[in-house]
């Protein structure tokens, strides 16, 4: 009986710690998924959920306020497959309404990745556009024509889309972000 109680405590502790470790890097609650993107609905606000608050305290991130803008993060492509550094992705061709937006590439923890081109992201105000105002950003390890966002030396990467001064709420669908409005992340081929 005593042995069983100790076993329950030990295994419970191990499982509880294990479950907390990964969940606090990428909190699964308090956010919405829109296409390939996730947006933390109340990331920076006082009434964020306990998981988001704990993740914030651990990472040291200084969150954007809702009134400043929204941050959308993609760890998968539009087909739901994990982003793979051996593949070429085309991201485009439009974004939800915002005064400015940026698209940047980071490692899984949210830090820019070193690359020979010294390119970590694109701004809406500098990007090359096609004839009808749309854009394509090519995310790949090797040089690509057009707007090339290098993957750099990293195993897993994420894409961050930031919308500054947007009238949209951090929710999916009507009044918030329509799935049809976010950029698609299309896998074009893999090495």
């Amino acid at each position: 009986m005593v042995f069983k109680a100790i076993a329950v405590g030990a295994i419970g502790l191990a499982l509880g710690v294990a479950a907390s470790g990964s969940i606090l890097v990428d909190p699964p609650f308090g956010g919405v998924t829109i296409g390939a993107w996730r947006v933390a609905a109340k990331a920076g606000s006082i009434d964020a959920d306990p998981y988001t608050r704990a993740a914030l305290a651990r990472s040291g991130e200084i969150p954007l306020a809702l009134g400043e803008g929204l941050e959308l993060v993609a760890r998968v492509d539009s087909s739901g497959r994990a982003l793979d550094r051996r593949c070429v992705y085309r991201v485009g061709s439009h974004t939800p309404a915002a005064r400015y937006w940026t698209l940047s590439l980071t490692d899984a923890e949210g830090f820019p990745v070193d690359n020979a081109a010294g390119r970590y992201g694109f701004r809406s105000s500098e990007i090359l556009r096609d004839g009808d105002g749309g854009f394509s950003v090519y995310v790949s390890e090797v040089v690509h024509s057009g707007n090339w966002l290098p993957i750099g030396h990293v195993d897993t990467f994420t894409l961050a889309l930031r919308l500054y001064d947007t009238p949209l709420a951090a929710t999916a669908g009507a009044g918030g972000i329509e799935t049809s409005s976010v950029p698609t992340i299309v896998r074009e081929g893999c090495a």
């Binding site: 419970g12 509880g16 006082i46 305290a57 040291g60 809702l66 940026t102 830090f111």
Partner: protein, 191 residues
């Protein structure tokens, strides 16, 4: 022991382990923000004293203090301590681009934000107060000559203010960086 009782015992064991794991997990999630010794505020404390405006490091490879920082954004921060009196924050808007200030509690959560759309005469300005200071200020307000101050009550006595400025082009980052370092956070006499 018959097989049924043995199965019941095993089920009880698994249930006890699951309950222990869940308890540990929830305890960790709720305790992390309280005990986190290296949250955003602690990281900011290493940059400078309260009241001083310091530049936040730009999002770049090798910069591992503040994750999810947009490389297109220049940011500065000042920590505030309201125990000596309200703190007046003034931040200049730029020639172009987007600028904002966000007000954070000791734990990093946003309790207020302003963008350059709310600026008057080229400045975003607000006075951070405790709820008690706010009551005294309001009690002494001159009804015939209403205050122009935007008073923002802070849920915590300590906290920090972040100013962000968007650079439309890489060559404009330096100007945005100088702009955010012009933010001032001055303690006023207690009301």
């Amino acid at each position: 022991m018959n097989p049924g009782a043995r199965l019941g015992g095993a089920a009880l064991f698994v249930a006890a382990v699951a309950a222990a794991a869940a308890l540990v997990h929830f305890a960790i999630v709720l305790l992390v923000p309280v005990v986190a010794s290296h949250d955003a505020y602690a990281r900011l404390a290493e940059l400078g004293p309260p009241g001083a405006t310091v530049a936040l490091p730009r999002g770049a490879p090798g910069e591992k203090r503040f994750p999810w920082a947009d490389p297109a954004i220049a940011a500065s921060v000042c920590r505030f301590d309201l125990s000596a009196g309200p703190v007046r924050v003034k931040a200049p808007i730029g020639r172009a681009g987007f600028a904002s200030i966000s007000f954070h509690t000791r734990r990093g959560a946003v309790f207020y934000a302003l963008t350059d759309r709310a600026a008057a005469h080229g400045w975003m300005e607000a006075v951070v107060v405790t709820p008690a200071q706010l009551r005294v200020l309001v009690a002494h307000d001159d009804e015939d000559n209403p205050t122009q101050d935007l008073r923002v009550p802070s849920p915590t006595v300590e906290g920090f203010v972040v100013m962000r400025a968007f650079s439309e082009l890489p060559s404009l980052y330096e100007a945005a960086s100088q702009q955010v370092q012009m933010m001032t956070c001055a303690t006023e006499p207690p009301p």
